[in-house]
Symmetry: D3
């Protein structure tokens, strides 16, 4: 453990705690595993994901959890090469109440903007998650 | 003119008409200008944007217009180099009823995923659109 | 099933049929497997690939099939993260008559534009396809 | 000036000369201006463009100049943010004998792979070049 | 324990203050202008840039300021479409003591990885900054 | 075999020899395996990697080997989809004397610029290399 991670008090602690609660609510055990995988190499990176991505951004008002997952699915689909993160966030999308049809539709909506290959890659991840959760066939 | 552009009847006509209506509703005159700009070089490309992006994708059920613009803002912010399209779609987002705060928030939500530079570039476009429509300052 | 998928008559049917014929001619069984894999999650996405990518774009005049595969190899190599699609289209390139040397050359030509890593990744896919078809060594 | 730039003899000189001839043939004065613009900041970068891109890659057999420009148009369209280079290479495409229709078609062919925004951006560049050379309207 | 994590609200205030000091030291007035431009649309985004990018990341030990700018030049060159941010960080690189030759070299080193177009675009930005600061010609 | 590969004399031979020595010093056996894997499909591509990437770029003065690896880690992390190349270059970074902490820090420094997913993907590669070399846990 680096010296950075040892103790955070006051507001910074609350960012961390708020973020950790958010991460567990949204990403579930898959999110916890990402953080755990960083402990022996870059624990501060895990802390930044918790504090910045979840304690700051996901904790903001204005967009609800389902709207945030629509945005997240689109940004990950478009980047490409983020299949591991998409796996976490297709699960997260289900966790916060998006339907399988909405997840499929959000990915498909990216096709005129980012082309079929990235959309097909994301759909392959969605299919895998839906299979793991016994949600197929959809149609 | 290729043979494809000559006559579209039946369903293909309805795709075109449905897409054109959608495009005008969502993107307004900015969308019409994109199509017009293609007339002397690649009119079929304009037709495909109308038919596929708007007649097929935007006309689908499951996600409403505001949800689709959240996804669109995220995919365009993440791609980078799509400032012209973002300008059209920040306007489109307002046209379908997203608030300025929701637009800002959708762009900001991409920051843990795609980094600050692409988010700052998208926010610069949003700021320009809001200024053009007399919506600044937000806060 | 959405209302769009129900019946396609007239021109829209011909787009689908024309696209399906093209896809089978160009991509062969690998293309059919991509479409089949979407049946239980997003059959409309498969339909759009058939109709738009193959029924509209690949069915256009001006460039012949070999020229189109040169363009396809370049766009997929450059995007990165599209190894699955490159596997289909290296096969497609052979199917339409590009030689192994032309395929290698098209990928290599991208190196001053997109750098060695993406080119090496694409070449790894080409090597795998050539091995599967008993075409190695080239030199 | 680094030691590398000082003297190139034998084969290395021939790479440079061969590349410089290719660059002038293909890219014309626009290519020469790119090289000239680097003289007071990074002349070696200009030399590498000449030697590697043109002396090595563009001088290879197997694909002719028109095929290489099809690949080049696709890789630049797909990358995004390369409008300056596209301007050079739409001109280059005309210089080596691609027709305006073929250039438009190559850019359009990328749309199922990389989406409409990058394709629209590339088409805007093509339109500008065609206007500058008095080639519009095409249709 | 580094100074970062010690106490907030303190600590959160100290992240902001530490980040603001860093941003002013590294990016100078150009960085301040970026933050100022966000005040009427997304001031929280400016705060996150200060807190996360500068208060957290740039304030870490292990790499010194010149090493961090080498990494920053490479990530911005490679992303593409980040000319505005590159302009800030070519200036920042000079501010922390990188020489013009080192800046040019870092950008050029990306060429085998990301290709010539992104490298040429970054070099154009470097040239502009060097001209603005009266540092040309280099050679 | 093309005519280019046949004989390289004088300076071109020295580029090749200089590059091959550099590649072996920096990338070690992993680099040699990349070149070897190209022998039966695109040996010229291997030669260009040796000559341009290592004989030209890595052999330049101004930045030392550790600085070059910082730049390389950043460009590969940012591109995404280059896990194979990152595996080679995390090893290379250790080979030229960067510490595990510096490698982790360089990857982490990209997070405000390119977002967490690409940084997490790169950190996964670094973790794998460190494990293979018995260097974990770091902290």
């Amino acid at each position: 453990m680096t010296e950075h991670t040892q103790q955070a008090t006051g507001n910074e602690q609350s960012r961390y705690d708020r973020g950790w609660d958010k991460l567990k609510t949204i990403d579930g055990q898959a999110g916890e595993r990402v953080i755990a995988s960083l402990q022996d190499i870059a624990p501060d990176l895990g802390r930044y994901v918790i504090e910045y991505a979840f304690g700051d951004i996901y904790s903001r008002p204005t967009l609800d959890s389902r709207q945030r997952q629509l945005v997240t699915l689109a940004t990950l689909t478009t980047q490409g090469g983020c299949e591991a993160q998409l796996h976490v966030h297709v699960n997260a999308s289900l966790n916060v109440g998006l339907t399988t049809a909405e997840i499929v539709e959000a990915i498909m909506h990216c096709s005129p903007y980012t082309g079929f290959p990235r959309v097909l890659n994301a759909m392959t991840v969605a299919k895998q998650v839906f299979q793991e959760r016994g949600l197929l066939p959809l149609v």
